[in-house]
């Protein structure tokens, strides 16, 4: 059993429990700053969210202080976006995230902790507009 097992057990106990909802309005200035930061000048992004914008609207991972007891740094392993409706300037979007899996793997440079989370984004009518799945890695 890994020395990190208590940390893993504490994280695993949180699997499936939704975090607190956070709501934010898509602002024109934020869209513009985001499009400039990624270097994408497609005019549609002045009024509509480009594919990865939702990560900027609400925190993509629940705050997991206990995970930081494992290893010394974070890496992003991957992301999956699913789009159901366009997100436009002025939309109030609510994000609810949860942990869906936590496991340890032995890699070539030592042990890694994989933390899989999912965030669902809703509009003001309660309809899901997008989903995000992410793999955060502690190393």
């Amino acid at each position: 059993m890994s020395a990190a097992q208590p940390v893993i057990d504490r994280l695993r106990a949180r699997i499936g429990t939704p975090g607190p909802p956070t709501t934010a309005v898509v602002e024109a200035g934020h869209l513009k700053a985001f499009a400039e930061a990624i270097g994408d000048s497609y005019p549609r992004w002045l009024t509509e969210a480009p594919p990865t914008f939702l990560v900027a609207l609400a925190p993509v991972t629940a705050h997991l202080p206990e995970a930081e007891e494992y290893g010394k740094g974070w890496l992003n392993g991957g992301n999956r976006f699913e789009y159901l409706e366009p997100v436009k300037v002025g939309d109030a979007i609510t994000a609810i995230g949860k942990l869906v899996d936590v496991y340890e793997k032995t890699g070539s440079s030592g042990n890694l902790l994989f933390i899989i989370f999912e965030t669902e984004y809703f509009n003001r009518h309660g309809r899901t507009v997008a989903r995000l799945r992410g793999t955060a890695i502690r190393r």
């Binding site: 270097g39 594919p51 890496l75 991957g78």
Partner: protein
């Protein structure tokens, strides 16, 4: 419409800089120091500051939406980060149509460093406007 299996998307070549990493950190709200603090990045075993995975995802998203234009809608998009990339080196985004079924096209997309290593790989699904 020339969207059929094997069709290659026009390359998108990005030139990330440390300035862009700071700009992106602010726009996304991700202030993890490995993206702007050289000393911190080295202290956690990295060669120096590295690109945000999600910035590379944004580049690949742009690859797809630039190509698609108003011909359809992006339905899903998935990327895995297989290697790190550092600012000051061009990042080449590439993609190819892998299947077209009933108005939906699947693409494979990837980002390459200057040595041709695929440091980000992924897939996208687009729904084509009839």
């Amino acid at each position: 419409m020339n969207i059929e299996p094997g069709h290659e998307l026009p390359d998108l070549i990005k030139h990330p800089t440390t300035r862009q990493l700071v700009q992106y950190a602010g726009a996304q709200g991700d202030f993890y120091e490995i993206h702007y603090d050289q000393e911190f990045a080295r202290s956690v075993g990295l060669p120096g500051v590295i690109l945000h995975g999600l910035l590379k995802a944004a580049f690949l998203g742009q690859l797809v939406t630039d190509w698609l234009g108003e011909r359809g809608t992006l339905k899903s998009f998935e990327v895995s980060y297989r290697g790190i990339d550092v600012p000051g080196r061009p990042y080449r985004c590439r993609g190819r149509v892998t299947s077209v079924v009933g108005g939906r096209a699947e693409l494979e997309v990837w980002g390459e460093d200057p040595e041709g290593n695929r440091t980000t790989v992924g897939t996208a699904v687009v729904e084509l406007t009839a």
